[in-house]
C-alpha cells in the first residue's frame, strides 16, 4: 500500500520549499518511515535542526520541532535531551550546518555519546545560500566561491564521527531510498549518539555547476559510487577507488551520557 506519510506531516505544509529534484524530500520520507517503525511517540520526540535547506525539515513534521541557529542544532538538542532524557531526540541538517559551523557541537555530541540520532543530509554544498562550497564538497568541484575548482580537502563525515567517539555511524544515499529508513531506525534504536549520513543532491546549486545535466545524472552517480560494506569487504582497493561505503560503518557500546549523569545525581544524593 501507499505509505501514509500524511499522518506525520503537519496539515497544509506541503508542498515543501525544496527545489525540484532536491534529495532532502527523499530523506525526509525515510526519516518518517524510520520514526514510524521505531514507534516513536510524537509527543515525546524532538526534531532539532540548524539553518539551511536541509534544516527546514522539522517544520514539516508533526512532532516537537526546533529550528535553531546555523550550526547549533546538536547543542540545542543536547540541552533538550539532558533536561528531559525520556524524550527521543533527532537532529537533522545539512553537511554545511553540521560539519562547517557546527563541527564543534558535532564532535562533542559524538564524544559525550548522548542518546540522540544525528542525520546529516550531505549534498556537498551550501544550498540555501546559493552554492558556496562546504567542507564536504569534493576537491576540484565548482561552487560559487570555487570557480577555479575547490582547493579544499573533503571531510569524511563517518571518519570524523568515529574519531570523535560516535558509537554508531552509518551511511546511505538518497538514491538507495529503501535503505534510508532502515539505517535511521537502527540509529534511533542505538543507545548513544548515532550519526547517519545520507548522500544527497542539490541540483540547483551543485548539479548545474558541476556538469550534471539534471538531477537524474546526480542520482545515477549516487547509485554508481555506493558500495555496501559487506560487498566492499570482497573488493580490491582498485575496485573501491572512487566508491563510497554504505550501510552501518561502525557500532560499539559505550556508556550513554544521560545515564552517566543519572549516576552523578545518585552520587550527589548519596553523599
Amino acid at each position: 500500500m501507499a505509505y501514509d506519510y500524511e499522518k506525520s506531516i503537519r496539515p497544509g505544509k506541503l508542498p515543501h520549499i525544496w527545489c525540484p529534484g532536491c534529495g532532502h524530500g527523499i530523506v525526509m520520507k525515510g526519516l518518517i518511515r524510520a520514526m514510524d517503525s521505531c514507534e516513536l511517540d510524537r509527543d515525546n520526540t524532538a526534531v532539532v535542526s540548524g539553518i539551511g535547506c536541509a534544516s527546514r525539515l522539522p517544520g514539516y513534521l508533526d512532532t516537537c520541532t526546533l529550528h535553531t541557529a546555523h550550526g547549533r542544532a546538536a547543542a540545542f538538542a543536547t540541552g533538550v535531551k539532558m533536561a528531559k532524557p525520556e524524550m527521543n531526540v533527532i537532529v537533522v541538517g545539512g553537511d554545511g550546518d553540521g560539519t562547517a559551523i557546527g563541527g564543534n557541537h558535532f564532535i562533542h555530541a559524538c564524544r559525550r555519546n548522548i542518546d540522540m540520532t544525528y542525520l546529516v543530509m550531505n549534498n556537498s554544498i551550501y544550498g540555501m545560500t546559493g552554492g558556496q562550497f562546504s567542507p564536504c564538497t569534493p576537491t576540484g568541484a565548482k561552487a560559487s566561491t570555487t570557480v577555479y575548482g575547490n582547493p579544499d580537502p573533503t571531510f569524511d563525515i563517518a571518519k570524523l564521527a568515529i574519531g570523535a567517539g560516535a558509537t554508531f555511524v552509518a551511511r546511505g544515499t538518497a538514491f538507495h531510498a529503501t535503505q534510508i529508513d532502515k539505517l535511521i531506525a537502527e540509529g534511533i534504536k542505538h543507545k548513544g549518539l548515532a550519526v547517519i549520513e545520507i548522500l544527497d543532491d542539490c541540483p540547483t546549486t551543485y548539479g548545474r555547476r558541476n556538469k550534471f545535466r539534471s538531477v537524474i545524472d546526480m542520482m545515477k552517480r549516487l547509485k554508481e559510487i555506493a558500495v555496501p560494506v559487506a560487498a566492499a569487504a570482497k573488493m580490491t582497493p582498485e575496485q573501491l577507488e572512487g566508491k563510497v561505503l554504505t550501510g552501518v560503518l561502525h557500532k560499539e557500546e559505550r556508556p550513554e551520557y544521560t545515564e552517566q549523569y543519572a549516576q552523578v545525581i545518585q552520587r550527589a544524593q548519596g553523599a
Binding site: A2, P20, G21, G25, K29, P203, S214, M219
Partner: protein
C-alpha cells in the same frame, strides 16, 4: 484486461516535475507532461513502489491492486 499490479495516484499540486520517478520506473509507466508527471502506461506498473519511494515531493502514491 489490465496487467497493472498497482494504481498510481499523482498529487499534481505537489509535483515539481523533477522526473526522478519517470527515470527510475523500471517499466516506464510514467512520463512528463510539461511540468508535471503523468501516468502514460498504467498497465505496465508492477507495483515496485520505486516512484513513490524516490519522489522527493510526496506527489506519488502507489496503491497496490
Amino acid at each position: 484486461m489490465s496487467g497493472a499490479k498497482a494504481e498510481i495516484e499523482i498529487i499534481e499540486r505537489y509535483c515539481k516535475g523533477c522526473s526522478i520517478c519517470v527515470e527510475f520506473c523500471p517499466t516506464k509507466v510514467l512520463a512528463m507532461d510539461a511540468f508535471v508527471v503523468k501516468v502514460e502506461n498504467a498497465d505496465a506498473c508492477i507495483g515496485c513502489m520505486q516512484c513513490e519511494l524516490r519522489c522527493p515531493d510526496f506527489a506519488i502514491k502507489v496503491h497496490k491492486l
